[in-house]
């Protein structure tokens, strides 16, 4: 196991390196320097600034400073927000995005597994077709279409829930549902396929022949093998949830990282956008690593 862990960690290092390096060189490619604004800075001051920020050093020295700063969690000042550094903006937005994302994943697991298992146990029955049709709709309708429709129905027409804002429980319902719907559909489809396959496995047939009651068969014998694909889903799901939260935060006006990111992209706030890319990039890579390790721990075939 230890050898496997070392190998997998070593495997993610090039990815992390590429993310950070790509981000660094992209900011170098940015047209115009940080002092090219309408009001000219006196050359002496510009020189001082360039010295402090190492702008006159060779590229590899700048790259070194940049790496060192990122390791310290410092992404530099924002280009557009006067009083904030990029790290402060990320720190401010992350709790919101994290809460939103975690709730969406939990909801997706709860509802998705229940629906998928129900469908699998009634394979080719009415319930099965119904659940799979709903899952197809969930997969095909993107959340930037679903979210406005949810707002229209539940906030505007019915008036049950607020259309935006963040803080109390009621305000969280719609964004979490909008974010998790495609994931619920994915989990339901995966659970169904996985459970059907597991229930057809020889060891389940043996258990059934020995007279194991159906409930124990399902929860003790079949559950672990069924859960394996869903564990590996958690990796891509993190990326999907993060991408989705960019849209959902925008639609519901939530003060998360996603909204900073889109506003940063629209305002050409280079450092902010780059900081978020590096932050989320590292987060996704680390999540994938954790999921892989968890998977290997559960399924010894992977380790050897």
């Amino acid at each position: 196991m230890l050898a496997y862990i070392t190998k997998r960690i070593a495997g993610t290092l090039p990815t992390l390196f590429i993310i950070v390096t790509m981000a660094f060189f992209m900011i170098r490619l940015a047209p115009g320097g940080p002092f090219d604004s309408e009001r000219a800075v006196p050359p002496e001051i510009a020189e001082n600034l360039e010295r402090v920020y190492h702008l006159n050093d060779p590229l590899y020295v700048q790259y070194g400073y940049y790496l060192a700063n990122i390791l310290k969690g410092d992404f530099g000042p924002s280009f557009k927000y006067q009083d904030y550094t990029v790290s402060e903006l990320i720190q401010q937005g992350f709790p919101v995005s994290l809460k939103l994302g975690l709730l969406a994943i939990i909801l997706a697991l709860l509802i998705g597994i229940t629906l998928g298992a129900t469908a699998a146990l009634r394979q080719n029955g009415l319930v099965d077709y119904l659940v799979m049709t709903l899952a197809m709709i969930g997969v095909a309708i993107p959340n930037f279409v679903m979210a406005p429709i949810l707002v229209l129905v539940f906030a505007v027409f019915l008036g049950w829930l607020p259309a935006g804002g963040w803080g109390d429980l009621k305000q969280m319902v719609l964004p979490v549902i909008a974010l998790s719907l495609p994931q619920i559909a994915t989990v339901a489809r995966m659970t169904r396929a996985s459970l059907i396959e597991t229930l057809n496995a020889p060891y389940i047939r043996t258990a059934k022949a020995k007279g194991v009651p159906p409930r124990i068969l399902l929860f003790r014998h079949a559950s672990k093998a069924t859960m394996l694909p869903i564990i590996s889903w958690l990796g891509p799901a993190t990326a999907a949830i993060i991408t989705g939260s960019v849209v959902v935060e925008q639609i519901f006006g939530l003060p998360g990282i996603g909204r900073h990111f889109v506003n940063g992209a629209l305002n050409r706030d280079y450092t902010l956008v780059m900081g978020v890319v590096v932050f989320y990039g590292v987060l996704i890579v680390v999540m994938n690593l954790l999921v892989d390790l968890l998977y290997a721990w559960l399924d010894p075939r992977i380790r050897y």
């Binding site: 992209m26 406005p148 229209l152 505007v156 991408t243 849209v247 889109v262 940063g264 050409r268 990039g281």
Partner: protein, 300 residues
């Protein structure tokens, strides 16, 4: 397209009684029995035909402003079949023109990823050994990158243009294609017919072109069909955020964003582009699933 379809159907029925059937004919026969896939194919062709030809029958152009009908609901007497937007532009024409862009991005970017993926995968799989290991390691690394964010980063630096979207999507979507083709070619190169070709003195290039690539096409076509909706979604996502297709051009993502902003006063602005997008995505997913069932070698 329909003429082509007809010839295939007739040839299938005429050879049905004889002994052998070409794999592609069998696959087509299986597909034509799949009602959901055939209906989706029909619906998709209809959407394409409407998007290409129908804007011509409307008296309005993409950015004509009808000052008498600003933000009006669908109305046949003024020939605004889908109503107008907040600027008085005809939504029927805009939805269909947007559809052209969305579909074009979907098809072209898939084609780009198709070509890169097949070539890369076939070369890696056929060459094998260290080259293969190195090439696939590179794919693994790229796979782990959060591309959506890099694309947005690119739009910040290079401005927002439709060409950037092509390049970005092409750069992302070829990875899975390359993996599929590589896996296939690894097993194909061990087969007797490849050995026979090598014995007769065929060059590596010829073998890849004549024997490896044609034999990987089944799964690749299935994956390509499932890539098109992903690409359309990707483009709509960027456009929805205002980072994709820019005025005066439009796409379904742009229209959905405009519709979402106005949905309380003008729900039709969201309804029409959103339904076009959703139906197109449905159709492509059903066709892809149908093709997978029809071409899956497990059933042969």
């Amino acid at each position: 397209m329909t003429a082509n379809t007809k010839t295939i159907t007739t040839s299938t029925t005429s050879t049905a009684t004889s002994k052998g059937q070409a794999p592609w004919q069998k696959a087509w026969k299986r597909l034509s029995h799949n009602k959901a896939a055939m209906f989706s194919l029909f619906l998709l062709l209809l959407i394409i035909v409407i998007c290409v030809f129908a804007p011509a029958i409307s008296p309005w152009a993409l950015d004509d402003v009808d000052w008498d009908n600003i933000g009006t609901s669908p109305d046949f007497s003024s020939q605004h079949y889908f109503g107008t937007d907040a600027n008085g532009r005809d939504l029927f024409v805009r939805t269909l023109q947007g559809g052209r862009i969305s579909l074009m991005v979907g098809l072209l970017a898939t084609a780009v990823s198709f070509i890169i993926g097949i070539l890369y995968g076939a070369i890696a799989g056929y060459t094998g050994g260290k080259t293969d290991a190195l090439m696939m390691r590179f794919v693994d690394i790229l796979y782990a990158l959060p591309f959506m964010f890099f694309v947005i980063l690119l739009t910040v630096y290079f401005g927002r243009s439709i060409w950037l979207i092509f390049i970005a999507i092409g750069a992302v979507e070829w990875l899975t294609m390359a993996r599929i083709v590589r896996g296939q070619s690894l097993s194909l190169k061990q087969r007797a017919f490849v050995e026979a070709a090598r014995v007769t003195g065929a060059s590596h290039f010829t073998i890849i072109k004549r024997h490896i690539i044609p034999n990987t096409l089944g799964p690749v076509i299935v994956y390509a069909t499932l890539t098109v909706p992903q690409v359309i979604l990707f483009e709509s996502f960027l456009s929805f955020l205002g980072l994709g297709v820019q005025e005066p051009m439009t796409s379904w993502g742009v229209l959905i964003a405009e519709g979402a902003a106005q949905m309380e006063s003008a729900p039709w602005m969201l309804l029409f582009p959103a339904s076009f997008l959703a139906v197109t995505l449905f159709c492509l997913n059903f066709i892809g699933d149908g093709l997978r069932d029809a071409l899956d070698p497990k059933d042969r």
